[in-house]
Structure formats: C-alpha cells, structure tokens
C-alpha cells in the first residue's frame, strides 16, 4: 500500500474505473473508513449509472438515412469538398490577380472571343443561378429549344446531362455585347446549379477548350464551327472537365 494521500481526482477516477487496480483498492479501503466520502462517491456512481441508462436507448435507435456514412462518402466523392474548392479558388485568384478572371489556354482574345464568352457565362451564372424565384424563363425543353434557335438564328442543341447527374431546369435568352445567347440551367440532387451558355462567335470561331476560374465559380469555354459554348458552376475546374467534355461531344453530334 502506498502512502499517497487520496485526492478528489482519485475519487472521480474511482467512479470512472480509470484507476490502476492497486490504486482502486487503496481508494476502496479509504472509502470503507470514511462513510461520508463514500456516500458522496456512491452518489456520483449512481449518477453515472442513471445517465448511461437514460441515454443508452439513443445509441440503439436505428440510424436515419441522413447519417448513412456510405452515402455521405459517395456524395463527397462526386462533389469535391468545399475546403478543397476554396483552396483551388484562392490559388486561381492568386494566379489571376485579386478578383481577376484567369483564363488558361487562351490569352486575352479579341472582343467577342472566348474570354468574353467565359465572362458572359459567369455573369449569367451569378445573376440567374442564385435566383430562387425565377432562375429560368422557360422550363419546357421543346419550347425552349425553339425559342433560342429562333433568336440565335441557328439550330441550338440542348445538352443532356442526366447521365452526369444534372437535370435541365430550363433556360432563357440572355443579352451579350455580341447579340443574344442561349442560357441553359441544370441542377443536381443537392440543388447545385450549372449554367451552359452558347452563342455564335464573332471571333475565336474555333477555339480549344479553356478552363477559367474567378470569384467562387469555375468554367470551361470553347468554340466549334462558329458556335461558342461555356459551362460554369460552383465546382473545381477538374470536377467540371468531364461535364464540359460531355457537352462538347453532344454539341459536335448535331
């Protein structure tokens, strides 16, 4: 038996079964000869027992769907973590200058070129994707295609992104300095919205795919055969790339 005096900490550790067996025995011996302290320690033990019993049923309840870990992991994999995106956005800002609009793979082109298209798509995203009341003008896809094709004076193909997890919400005609453009908006199961903008190009009639990023959105722009396309969303450039490729593939199949 050690001669160490019994401390308050020992008493709590005794209640919590956190003592070495030897010390546990010493405290037990002390309690036998100190009934007042023993009563207090017993009441702490009772508390512990009651709390555990009262709260145990919660841990036995079946887990609700919102706490399904496999599903959480799955949705995280599809959607990059926001902090990773924040870092990417900060890096892009640092590269492009504060508040700047960084274009990779396309230098500042002539007016009406890819850079302008990217800016228009980003502006459309900012104005319309955040609109909770009326983000789109038309929801019916047939009517929409007819309307924008008339205004753009060329057939416009509506990209189908259902395989990538995005539903068409609808679209509208938006004004640009280079004439009307067609804007299509999509959302996924989490309500995350994407904007696709397309219009005839006055310059950069054929331009390879260029990533851009600024503020809290990223996008890809390109032009094929005189028609420009830009897709913008609140995701990382890398996460948007497969969507951009899919849209381009579908547009080329007209």
């Amino acid at each position: 038996m050690s001669n160490r005096p019994i401390s308050e900490d020992d008493l709590h550790a005794y209640v919590d079964h956190a003592l070495e067996p030897e010390r546990q025995a010493e405290v037990a011996a002390y309690l036998e000869s100190h009934p007042d302290v023993a009563r207090r320690v017993a009441s702490f033990s009772d508390q512990r027992t009651m709390l555990r019993a009262a709260l145990a049923p919660i841990a036995e309840e079946p887990l609700p769907p919102q706490l399904n870990l496999s599903r959480i992991i799955e949705s995280k994999r599809r959607r990059p973590a926001s902090f990773r995106w924040a870092i990417a956005a900060m890096l892009m800002l640092a590269i492009g200058g504060v508040g700047g609009w960084a274009i990779r793979g396309a230098t500042e082109g002539p007016a009406g070129g890819l850079a302008a298209l990217a800016q228009e798509a980003s502006d459309s995203y900012k104005v319309y994707a955040s609109d909770r009341t009326r983000p789109v003008e038309l929801r019916d896809s047939a009517e929409l295609v007819q309307w924008v094709s008339n205004r753009l004076q060329q057939p416009v193909k509506l990209p189908d992104l259902t395989k990538s997890g995005y539903r068409l919400m609808g679209g509208r005609v938006v004004p640009t300095a280079h004439g009307p453009a067609a804007m299509f908006m999509y959302d996924d199961d989490h309500g995350e919205r994407l904007v696709v903008l397309t219009r005839p190009m006055t310059s950069d009639q054929n331009a390879p795919m260029a990533a851009h990023s600024g503020g809290d959105v990223a996008g890809f722009s390109w032009a094929d055969g005189g028609t420009g396309y830009s897709v913008v969303g609140p995701r990382s450039v890398e996460a948007l790339r497969p969507l951009a490729n899919e849209i381009r593939k579908q547009a080329q199949a007209i």
Binding site: A13, L55, I73
Partner: protein, 176 residues
Amino acid sequence: MNDMLHQIEPVIPALRRYARALVRNHAAADDLVQDCLERAVSHWEQRRDTGSPKSWLFAILHNLAINQFRSAAARVQHIAIDEAGEHEIGQDAVQEQKMIYQDVLGKLAKLPDEQRAVLLLIAVEDLSYAEAAKVLNIPIGTVMSRLSRARERLQQELERPADHQQGNVVQLRSKP
C-alpha cells in the same frame, strides 16, 4: 475509403447520443452529427493522430455544437426540459424508470454547457480524461475540475425535489 468507413461507422451511435444529450433536440442533434460526418469524410486524410478516430470525431462534433450554442444561445437555453425526456427514452422502459430518466436528463440539462460536456464525454461516452481534454481543447486539470463541479451540481439538483413530481428522485435513487 473502406478503412474510413470501418473506423467511423461504429462511432456514429455514440456521436448521436452525445449530440442529443448536448443540444436536447432530436433533429438538431442529428443535423450536427451529419455535419460532423461530412467534415470527417472530407478531412480524413488530414487528421493528425493515426490512433482511434473516436476522440477526433467527438472533437469535430463538439466544435460544431459549441458554434451552434454561440449562434443560438438563447434558443438552446430554453428548450423545454420535458421534451428532452419523452422520446429520448426507450419505449419499453417502465413508467417509474421513465420518470427517473426524464428527471435526471432534465437536471443534466440545467448544468452549464461546459460541465455537461465533460460529464457526458467521461461518464457516458467512456473517453479517458486525456481524450476529453483533447476533445475540449483544455488542460486535463480543467477537465478534472469541471467534472467535479458537474457532479456536485448534478447531485444538488437531484437531491432537490423534482419540479413537477415531488420527491420521486430522492426516493427512488438506489441507496449507497
């Protein structure tokens, strides 16, 4: 990925229990746990200690809960104590036991948040004193003093007759 799943999943029931005892609202507690799991999944690779993820998960949950307390201090303070009892208790518990549980949870709810957290982590969730110190980001000495104050305070509450059913707690508590 599978490793993450197998290490986090078994802790979820305990996280739910802690969250509900801390915030006393079923839906808000599950939202907190969901938030905690999402963060855990995102930050899995960044966690510093490679040991048991239990205290790491509790630390994430606790920080989220604390932020919620701060942003909604008034609301949390006044959630009805009776609500804490009703559906928190197993269906099959006998009425008498139900009343004791309801009473002890109601009295636990009267403790300051910081004392309640320490008591729950140690007495219910079986964290060691060192783990609790890590979760709460306080020295171990502070853990001990809060634990001591929490137990003394809860004891005072329990020895006082219940607010709405006089005296059943003192009567029914098992004798030392």
